[in-house]
Each structure stands twice: as C-alpha cells, then as structure tokens.
Symmetry: C2
Subunit: 258 residues, 2 copies
C-alpha cells in the first residue's frame, strides 16, 4: 500500500518535493497553504486536494512534510494534532527539536538545492541531509530520501545550519550578484546575455578546481589601479561600492600569502 503524505506549505520546496515523492510512488493526500492560489496550483498539478484552513488538515495521512518559512512553523504546527505520525521539516536552519512538541516521531529532510516552481529539477542529483529523533525514524526518512536522491547524508542540526549558511553564500548571495551585474549592465544598455557564458564557466570551473585556485580578477592580482577605478565608477551605487570594497579586501586577505 502506498504511504500517504500531507504537505504543509506549497512553496518552491514543497512543490518540487511533493512532485518527486509522487513520482516515487507516494500518495500525496493533501496540500495545505495559507494562500489559496499556491495551495490550488500545487494540488492541481498533483491531482489531489488542498485546504487553506489549518483545522482541516487531514491528520489521517501517514506522514507530514512541513515546508514553510521557518518563522511561522512553530505557530502553524501548534494548531495541528499529529497523533505521533512522522512529522518532517525541510529547513536548513531549524533544529530537529522544534518538532518535538508536536509529535513523538520527527525527522528532517533538507534538500540542498535552489528550487523555483517553474523550473524542472533532477531530484536524483540533489544532496539530501537527514536527521531523526530515533534510529527507527532515521531509517524511515533515509529510506524515503534514497527513493528520491542518489546522495543522502545524515547531518545533525548543527552541521545542517553550516550547510545552510554555506548555501546562502554559494547560491542566494551569488544570485544576488547576478542581479547586481544585470543592473549595472542595464545602465549602459548592455544585455545580461553577454555575461551568461562567464557565469556558467565560473560555476563549471569549481566543479573540477578548488575555488581558491579558480580565483581570477583584479583583487587577486592586487591590481589597485583597477580596484580604485571601479570604486570611482560605483560612486552612484553606494551599497555596491561598499560591497565591492569589502569583498575585494576579503579576496586580498585570502590570497596575500600565496
């Protein structure tokens, strides 16, 4: 018999994870989201039901995946009686213990990837970090994770938080720099297109080289002329100027003893 899963949350992570679980043979019983549009859109894709009311969450499901903003998780879970069903959160930075008040059986399933609803992801290639409050629950969440991904690793809450911070630098902040790059190009009517090969090569390089070796650019060459000319040019972008300065110094510090 298929194991049934309720999803609490209908954002990027919930969307990709629920679709992958469904493909792997799980029954997605219900989607909860505060926002009807998100709940309906995901439920529609999965051909399942949804609710926007916490009290109507179907607690007959075998397990519950929580993929909400960290700051609201505790509040939302307080209103649901999980009856010791397996309760799983997907957060990088929340400790496992936040689930303990809500069910005797709890686990973490943290997929280390950037998910956008409209973009396909091969879940097999997403590293998944798991943790559980008992050996039995760990085996269960590990079994589930292995059905979805080729890379499943056990990590406690402390390790997972560092993983999350590392991901914020390697992905979220990186993407923001793509945004800054696009914004600067736009001031001279240059299309973002032209930096795309550079962006891709920068990411591909560190698949094979270590990032310290892969570093190029004025800061690592200590090319002060360029750095000061760039800082001048950024006069009208105080925020970016400050970032430019800080990061150049950080690169410099890393490489000065080479």
């Amino acid at each position: 018999m298929k194991l049934s899963v309720c999803f609490i949350g209908a954002g990027n992570v919930a969307t990709h994870l629920s679709k992958s679980l469904q493909k792997a043979g799980f029954q997605i019983q219900q989607i909860y989201s505060r926002t009807e549009e998100s709940a309906a859109a995901l439920a529609n894709q999965l051909r399942t039901q949804y609710t926007t009311e916490i009290t109507k969450i179907d607690t007959s499901a075998d397990m519950f995946f929580v993929a909400l903003k960290d700051s609201v998780i505790d509040k939302v879970l307080s209103d649901i009686r999980f009856k010791n069903k397996l309760l799983v959160h997907c957060s990088g930075s929340l400790s496992l213990s936040v689930l303990k008040n809500h069910s005797k059986n709890c686990a973490v399933f943290y997929p280390l990837q950037t998910f956008s609803k409209e973009r396909e992801i091969d879940f097999k290639k997403v590293p998944v970090f798991i943790e559980a409050n008992t050996k039995e629950n760990e085996m269960q969440i590990e079994g589930i994770a292995r059905k979805l991904s080729d890379t499943v690793l056990v990590a406690n809450s402390e390790k997972r938080k560092i993983l999350h911070i590392s991901a914020v630098f390697a992905c979220n902040f990186v993407n923001h720099f793509y945004t800054i790059s696009a914004e600067l190009l736009k001031t001279k009517d240059i299309p973002f297109e032209v930096v795309k090969p550079l962006i891709l090569e920068t990411a591909q390089k560190v698949q094979e080289m270590n990032p310290e070796e892969a570093q190029t650019g004025p800061a690592v060459r200590f090319d002060e002329n360029i750095i000061s000319s760039h800082l001048n040019e950024l006069e009208h972008f105080q925020n970016y100027k400050e970032l430019y300065n800080l990061i150049s110094k950080s690169i410099f510090k890393h490489h000065k003893n080479e």
Copy 2:
C-alpha cells in the same frame, strides 16, 4: 602569409588568447614576460620563442597583444618602440587612450571570460568586446576577433568598464563566495562536493530566468529568524558576518516592493 603576433604577458588571458590565435592561423612570433617560468611555459606550448627582457621584444611582428596587469602596462610599453604596428590591449578597465602614446594604431580586444591556464575554454563562446582608434583598425581587430569568437561587439572604454565591473560581481566575487562556502563547510568537516550541484544549478537557472526571479533564500523570504540565527553562527567570522548582513539587506531592498 600568416600575420605574426607578439604577446606581451604570459598570464591566463595571454595563454588562452595566444593559443586560440595560433589555432586560427596566426603566427605567434614571441612571448614576453618578466617571469621566465611563465614565458618559457607558454612559449613551449606554442613552440615559439620567448624573452624576459623588454629590449629584446621582436618589433618586426605585425601586431602586439598586451595582456598584463593594468598597473604595469604603461611602464612596460614605454620601453618598446612599436613603430606604429597594431598595438592591442586586453583589459576591461583601461581606456583605449593608454595606448596612444605608444603607437598610432591601437585597439582593444576584451574577452569577457574567466581564464585559468590549466582549464580548456571554447573561445568561440567567449564574447569579445573591441574598440580601435580608427575605422580601419576597428575593422582589422574585428576581423581577428571574428576568427576566434562567435560573439564580437564594439564597446567604447566607458561601456567596457561597466562590463568589467559587472564581470567582477558575476564571476570574481561569486567565486570568492564559493571559497567562503568551502571554508565554512570545512569547519564541520563537510566536503565542498555537496554544494557543487547547487552552484551549478544557480548558474544554470539564470541562463533561462532573469536573476531577480531566480532569487531564493531567507533574505528574499524576509525570514528574520534564519537571518539572525546565521549572523549569530558567524560570530567567529566577523568579515563574513558583515558581508552576510550587507548582502541580505541589499536583497531585501531589491525585493521588498514585489
């Protein structure tokens, strides 16, 4: 007859560019570098000659490509008599005019890519930005650029500087964040391997989506709990903590009106 080229510089850009020019049918006549090791290594790959003495640069060549650190270019060029041969620099941020004292025929050939000596690059996919001091020289440098790359664009020095700053954000600073990510992971003995799929997907996403839409993570979700927990965790990395704070605020500012 093959056009002959001397390279002044034997770093990452000189290495890739000279090899690509040779493949495209140019004769690489000589390599100059202050550092014998670099000059010899590149000359050896190209089966050509090298010198480490400025006075021995072979001024009989048809053209000269300068790929040096910006801060030393003017000094080095002052010691060479180019006799109005085509003199080309490869810098993003130096204006064309720095060459004017050294030859009547000058041009810029700026390849927008990150080059490391030990890594192969398909030069066809590298956007090249060109500029020259006369229409004739522009045609000549454009012809050369088109033999190497599928994407050749004319950009004046002002545009090129913005291109360079954008590249610093989209590549050099991004790569430094990969370094920070690796460093943070190392504190918990987690291999850099685990963030590689994330790094690649982050770069692949913006090949198709615009980076503002592609943004994910705690800052764009305004998830203050996570942000403050990450800042606490970075207590022993003051420099990274400051960066984390600044960039999160910048992401927040970009997205608050969505």
